[in-house]
């Protein structure tokens, strides 16, 4: 007899993507944990309710050390949803699952050029061959109202532009760059899915936290001379650079 599966209701399985925070520890681990504590202390609830993936691709540790690290993180209330880049020999039952296929946002490979004054570039060499820029389609969203305390805008697909201010206690997480035509008083994480060329622009810098590709800066780490100014921030290596605009 063959069973015919007709009346049984089928199970619905849907795909859904979440933006996970990826932690990539450095050696020595105890020093890295101190830095993490520092971030957590100054930014209560940073990891709360967010999926966290531990990326150990370039980390020379063994199974025992990985296990200890997961426990150290658990003690800090950082619950790991998955592990990326671990060798099978590092894993054991009971650990968060090994994850593959994490997709960073489309990286731009465009070379940074020295900005040139507009007046110089305007009329010079009109018949210079037009350089065909290599472009990928980037998505972007524009929000034309202020982002209020307690609100978050999460857009891993690309750039976020806010026409208005981002309040203290509000947050923007973008896969690409973030442009704020107003005051930035909350937190902004640009390039959050691994895009080191993402930038942050704002009319008035009073941020609680800014991050680009995981490198972060808290309010007290920012140069006081930049506060209240129109500023752009970008990443050079592992250092966040900033300069005033206009």
């Amino acid at each position: 007899m063959t069973k015919v599966l007709t009346d049984a209701r089928s199970i619905r399985i849907k795909g859904r993507s979440f933006l996970a925070v990826v932690l990539s520890p450095d050696l020595p681990l105890d020093q890295w944990l101190v830095q993490l504590d520092d971030l957590a202390a100054r930014s209560a609830g940073f990891f709360l309710g967010r999926p966290v993936v531990l990326d150990v691709s370039d980390l020379a540790i063994d199974r025992a050390q990985l296990k200890a690290l997961i426990e150290d993180l658990a003690q800090r209330n950082v619950r790991i949803m998955g592990i990326e880049g671990a060798r099978p020999s590092m894993m054991e039952p009971g650990m968060p699952p090994l994850m593959k296929g994490g997709r960073p946002a489309a990286d731009f490979e465009v070379e940074e050029k020295e900005p040139q004054p507009v007046s110089e570039t305007r009329n010079s060499a009109p018949d210079k061959p037009v350089v065909q820029e290599q472009r990928q389609v980037t998505q972007s969203i524009v929000i034309s109202e202020p982002i209020r305390s307690g609100q978050s805008v999460i857009f891993p697909e690309g750039d976020v532009t806010i026409i208005g201010s981002v309040a203290s206690g509000a947050e923007i997480i973008a896969g690409g760059s973030v442009h704020i035509y107003g005051a930035l008083r909350g937190r902004v994480m640009a390039g959050s899915v691994g895009n080191a060329s993402a930038r942050i622009f704002c009319r008035k810098l009073e941020a609680e936290l800014i991050a680009i590709d995981g490198v972060y800066k808290m309010a007290e780490d920012m140069d006081p001379a930049l506060l209240g100014k129109a500023v752009q921030l970008w990443l050079e290596g592992d250092v966040i650079m900033a300069e005033t605009l206009f």
């Binding site: 209020r148 305390s149 309040a167 206690g169």
Partner: protein, 271 residues
């Protein structure tokens, strides 16, 4: 159809109940039919400020649960016949308010009154979200200090997300009422400046109410300040705010500063 206004703030003790009573009485003195509704179930205060505490028989919870008809629960003000109070229950907890019940009460009140002014409880929980749910406009009461401003910002976000108007894709009209403004402390720099508050919250300002012992005096005699002493500084500021709420365009003055300078900068309309 009347307009439903929620008086809200996030933070407690900033002057919501005082403002609900004062604006309600000010609008009633313009010969409009007004009801002030207490949503602060379990911590009701509006009956005291209105001087009606000894006349409360039924309350909004009784109406929602069908133990009383709406007209039985409404208390008419002793001084103004077109001003009414719908009290909250002091003995029940806030879960006694159901969304369907509140919707029905608001729909009924809108048919009889020009203004339905809802005094929200503090916080961002159920009581506060129910109070704002059916509002057409909001008066966001804020004191010039950082915690109050941040909480107001949070409330504005909720007004844009959790109200019926927002869910229908419309915009709820939001107005800022800055209360307990102390000119001396402002001069010493102990308080946030008016322009800083406006810059952070970016909603139109409908008034600045000075810190004043006249407010306490009015509450001690059980009268809204706009009825207790219509010539006092806070009462005059509330009268102007009520006119702006009703759509009049008046220049705004900062207590202790020269008249009118602010009107040019911040008197404009937006929502």
């Amino acid at each position: 159809m009347g307009k439903v206004v929620v008086v809200t703030s996030g933070k407690g003790g900033v002057g919501k109940t005082t403002s609900t009573a004062a604006l309600g009485a000010a609008l009633a003195q313009r010969n409009e039919k007004v009801v002030v509704v207490d949503f602060d179930v379990g911590l009701r205060n509006l009956d005291l400020i209105m001087g009606a505490e000894r006349r409360v028989v039924y309350d909004i919870v009784n109406v929602i649960q069908g133990d009383a008809k709406l007209p039985q629960a409404l208390i008419r003000d002793k001084r103004l016949d077109n001003l009414f109070l719908l009290p909250a229950s002091q003995t029940r907890d806030k879960d006694a308010l159901t969304p369907e019940g509140v919707e029905q009460v608001m729909a009924d009140l809108k048919r009889y009154f020009d203004w339905v002014i809802c005094d929200s409880p503090a916080g961002i929980e159920r009581g506060a979200t129910l109070a704002m749910r059916h509002a057409d406009m909001a008066v966001v009461v804020t004191n010039p200090e950082v915690s109050s401003v941040r909480d107001s910002d949070r409330i504005i976000g909720l007004l844009d997300a959790k109200t019926m108007k927002a869910e229908r894709g419309e915009r709820i009209e939001k107005h800022l009422l800055l209360t307990r403004y102390d000119a001396n402390r402002a001069e010493r720099g102990d308080m946030l400046k008016v322009e800083d508050v406006l810059e952070i919250l970016s909603i139109p300002l409908i008034g600045i109410i000075p810190e004043s012992s006249d407010v306490l005096r009015a509450s001690n005699i059980g009268a809204p300040v706009t009825l207790a002493d219509a010539k006092s500084a806070p009462a005059m500021a509330y009268f102007d705010a009520a006119r702006r709420l009703a759509g009049e365009d008046l220049p705004i003055t900062i207590p202790g500063e020269k008249r009118g300078i602010f009107g040019k900068i911040f008197g404009r309309k937006a929502a």
